[in-house]
Amino acid sequence: MQTRRSFLKFGAGAAAVGALAPLTVSANSSDVKWHEKHEIVIVGSGFAGLAAAVEAGKLGAKDILVIEKLGVYGGNSTLNAGQACFANTDLQKQLGIEDSAELMVQDQLKSGRGYASEELLKHSAELGPYIYQLTKDCGCVYRDHIINTGGTSATRSHQVVERSGAGFIRPMLKTARSYGVKTKTRHKFEHLITAADGTVLGIQVRKDYHFGHEDSGTLINIKAEKGVLIATGGFGANVAFRQALDPTLGNEVGCTNARGATGDGLIAMLSEGAMPVHLSFIQSGPWASPDEGGFGYGAGFSLYNFPHSIAIDRNTGQRFMNETADRKTRADLEVQRRDKDGKPNPALLIAPKHEAQKDPSMENVLRYNVAWEFDSVDAIAKHFELPTKQLKKQIDDWNKYVKAGEDPQFGKRMNMSTGIYLTAPFIVQRLWPKVHYCQGGIQINTKAEVIAAKNGQPIRKLYAAGEVSGGVHGVSRLGGCSTPECMAFGVTAARSMMKA
């Protein structure tokens, strides 16, 4: 925790320094000294960037460059739970799950609370089965089990066996390289280089950059013949930036993101006149634990156990939410759990060990002090200072709901917990939201072209995909729905560049 906090403080400082530097350089092509030239230039090595690299390689691009700011590949994508919602896959059919792209879009529109883009969601959902196959062709291996994530009306979150985005990133990186894609770490994108008419010619990059040392390395200009794809992710780790957009997201709330999620690509595109969309819609993950940094192991444990477990307020000993509602609903309710002085008093997720032990996440959270085992309700109440009577009644009531298949308290979908009673021994993890995903970003269209604010037209030769783009999900993104969207728009950007 200490590390994360000191890092976050530092991140804010770094952002302030960045603000002093010139944000943009427009130049005539004749004035620019180009150090390198490539057919396609991709900024960022997460899902969007690597999917674009693989697709462009498949389409016959000969000279593709992927740059990454950090010393390691994968950005934030390599740190998540490795889930991707696809509708209408072979695996769903095998498991008897009925689903469709239309249904997936409907679920997402609902969670987007009227702000999501139906056009972009539809484009992404329809590409789902293609992306599913593309990842398998890269060597990604899925579990036989499909996960149920919050806010969905059909079980559709396919998960790689690693239970981590690394299970996508590493095979995709390898496949991209097999197509001859050049990959470089410690290359920080500084700004776009544009012609007088706004066409993007290339980018300026800080080569040999070390994160946090803003003047490290040397500046080089890289020309992009077919276009530049900005796939730099979100800004969740930039506390000053996110708090300016949402005052509730200061240092009190942690962050699941990789260090590099500071919004550089977004800021550079804004300074070139890209249309900002929904920047204040910043999502916190309701499955996070305050007892470790970043995404950690707690998220995986909560994700597996939410359907058949209960979340308890420590003051009342009672449930306070539908544990499988969408992320915003849950995170907003979790952050309201306070002691009498208004200080954070994280809620408790209480899971039955007999079910929790079926997932490897249990061993991880127990081993690394992210969750603890208790052999009775009294032991939980004593350890966390809960009102015992109320807690006992709540657990009895819950077990009646499990039996009846109906949750009169919060309307939870109970077919996920059929026959799974909450009995001792229990595994208990604390819950406190962490900033997880930026729904906002710059506007793109279904060709992954970046839209200019001044005229609503695409900025020539500028593409964006993934978390840096905004407006796709609206107010709240559903779990497992960014991974396929990042890849779908990465693939789309590659197709657009190869067609242009």
Partner: protein, 116 residues
């Protein structure tokens, strides 16, 4: 008073000189220091060494073997991790002149008792 100031200046000066010559360092790298700063600082003294610099002496596959973990912990091998394989450059986790901690610790409460 004047004498005190002079002494202060001298002492401060001495401290600065020392820090410029020999900053925090690892004793077991003494022989590398004997060969000169450029042994590691292959991109100039004011720049970070390249990611290949440490690999003049260290071998990633060998390190991966040395820090190998079994069973459940196999993927927590910092030199061959689930997230980054053997591609994480040394300086992401290790510092020579500054104290650092393993990149993994940003998100995990791992125990690396022999971390240097």
């Amino acid at each position: 008073m004047k004498l005190l100031n002079t002494l202060l200046v001298l002492t401060l000066g001495a401290c600065l000189a020392v820090s410029a010559q020999a900053r925090d360092k690892r004793d077991y790298h003494e022989m590398v220091y004997d060969s000169g700063c450029k042994t590691c600082h292959d991109q100039g003294l004011k720049s970070f060494p390249s990611d290949e610099s440490c690999l003049q002496c260290h071998d990633m596959a060998e390190l991966a073997e040395q820090t190998k973990r079994e069973g459940h912990d196999a993927k927590q091998n910092p030199h061959d991790s689930m997230h980054y394989g053997q591609e994480a450059p040394c300086m992401e986790c290790h510092g020579e002149h500054t104290k650092k901690q393993a990149l993994c610790m940003d998100c995990h409460n791992f125990d690396y008792p022999k971390f240097k």
